[in-house]
Symmetry: C2
Subunit: 345 residues, 2 copies
């Protein structure tokens, strides 16, 4: 990629997002109304705080997966699908509240995090209350199946985050270790969103099984993209500070690939820097990644997962959700393509 790509504003990603998400506008509006209505269920003392957490400008990817996986036409926004979309979003919001405590983050999507707004103590409990309410909504279905699936996924997400947290500042991490963590912490909630959407859409079990696999691979692809964006993103576009993973000693796939390919002495320096939690030099790492072709290596991994995702849906091309879900894959491809390489690389 040449230097020009930095100065040319590339509008492809927002437009792509618009294509898929435009059709979900009424669904997302219904979700918003539903989530606002849930505030009544919170104890009056914590209602404003719950409102603060819900009132985000998030992408709502997981609800989108619920809606798209169970897609039966533009007109249909069944109440139970909206409820399940709210369940997965609340679980996700709860994990964000807890993540921001651990990362000591000041801002999320340009607003103070709940942890900064109410203090970490209250934020721990507020995240708990959001979790509890998600499960409460899940328990409003006639059978305990939804509750079962959501609570199981929630535990897996937590397990993934715990393992990642405990590994910070360590470097003896394999590619398999990395994939295991993102499978748990990210792919699991994508997976269950697709499962629940497909199920509530009334589709046959073969499709539900297929779209569940689709969700998992898309989730893995998305997390790898996200980890790549931490090195190669544009801050204004991805909406967060670059290099936060490196800063916090989190060894993600781009860094693993770099460790793999660096000459022994440079590698030893990087390992030493991570182990001793020394202030990292992001620019140096990005330059090294550029020189060693890490961007291409990692995007190839994203592509592999996207192909797996599409393959899962291949036998179900005739069903309404399939084309829309494939558009999601292309959206992510575009996002990856639009990540910025630094000047001169």
């Amino acid at each position: 990629m040449s230097a020009t790509s930095i100065t040319t504003p590339n509008q492809a990603m927002p437009q792509d997002f618009a294509t898929v998400f435009a059709r979900l506008k009424p669904h997302m509006a219904a979700l918003d109304v539903f989530l606002r209505g849930q505030l009544e269920a919170f104890e009056p003392e914590i209602r404003d705080m719950a409102d603060y957490c819900i009132d985000t400008s998030g992408k709502r990817i997981r609800p989108a997966l619920v809606f798209l996986s169970g897609w039966t036409g533009d007109e249909a926004i069944p109440a139970d699908v909206v409820r399940v979309a709210a369940v997965v979003e609340l679980v996700h919001l709860a994990t964000l509240v807890h993540d921001d405590i651990m990362d000591e983050a000041d801002l999320r999507r340009s607003r103070r995090t709940a942890s900064r707004e109410y203090g970490p103590e209250a934020a721990v409990l507020l995240g708990d209350a959001l979790f509890a309410h998600a499960l409460h909504l899940a328990a409003q279905f006639p059978t305990p199946e939804i509750c079962h699936a959501v609570s199981d996924s929630t535990r897996k997400v937590c397990a993934g985050e715990i393992v990642q947290t405990l590994r910070r500042g360590t470097t003896n991490i394999t590619r398999e270790d990395y994939f295991r963590v993102i499978d748990l912490k990210t792919a699991e909630l994508f997976r269950i969103s697709c499962f629940l959407g497909g199920k509530l859409g009334g589709y046959p079990s073969e499709y539900v099984e297929a779209v569940t696999r689709f969700g998992r691979h898309l989730g893995i692809a998305y997390q790898i993209y996200d980890d790549l964006a931490d090195f190669f993103g544009q801050e204004t576009r991805i909406g967060k500070t670059l290099g936060t993973d490196l800063q916090s000693g989190k060894v993600t796939l781009p860094l693993l690939a770099l460790l793999d390919r660096l000459p022994a002495d440079d590698r030893a320096l990087l390992v030493d820097e991570i182990l001793h939690r020394r202030e990292p030099d992001l620019a140096v790492r990005i330059r090294q990644m550029g020189e060693l072709g890490i961007f291409a290596v990692v995007t190839a991994e994203v592509e592999t997962e996207l192909v797996h995702a599409e393959e899962a849906l291949a036998p179900h091309g005739a069903l309404a959700p399939t084309a829309l879900l494939k558009q999601l894959c292309d959206t992510l491809r575009n996002q990856v393509r639009n990540l910025q390489l630094p000047v001169g690389v």
Copy 2:
């Protein structure tokens, strides 16, 4: 109370506990086996940590309430009752893990807290995983009713803890504010334990409704006792450091009663101390409480709640659980009686 009561070891409480809890020995053993078995369900990476949290020497009051409220005879330990006892205990253990993070506590029941053992970051998520697994177990019942009740209670417990946390270091707290918080943070889980026990015991709805009210009043009584013990307990017996509430700026009923009764100038000093989070002098406050009869005032509140609890069960004297539950009230009465007043008061 005279000085002699300090040097005379008073064995009444443990014996009382023994009376009621002796009959629950096989139940608690079944609960232990069940909880150990649950570790398998946790992801291998976090199994040891979950084990660490479950492996406590806690009193398991909430499971006891499940077992006693649904009591149908010494021989009966139905599997679903054990499962629901595990659910309420896991919710409780999760709140303890999160409480210990917020209180920056080093020890709980003579062991390092999960927060100290694994770090607060991992402990936040570990608490979440325990919550999630509790709900997962709740979802294993044929109807979503249990999940519904438990998730609702969990949110209430969190709401109570949040309000309490945000009020730390403030003094404009009414008696009603205090009771609202303990209703949410403590009585709710006692209440739901009794509800679920009665329900699973197959008892008629009038009894279930009555034992649910019993649980709530017992929970309120228990929390008032616990708050009193923070000033008047024996550290070796209650197993925690005295004065932690005062230290953390938590205004509980004994302190509210003291604020009410202190002469204006002394009151202003105490308010100022709390507002400015100045190092409190526990001995002074205990002496003042002794002089102003606060012990009697607060124990009267415990008694009022215990009477309400017993009254709820009055129409159900013929049912097997009733006598056992009343013994629990007497146990708490004895515990209150055995709190130590300081020398010379």
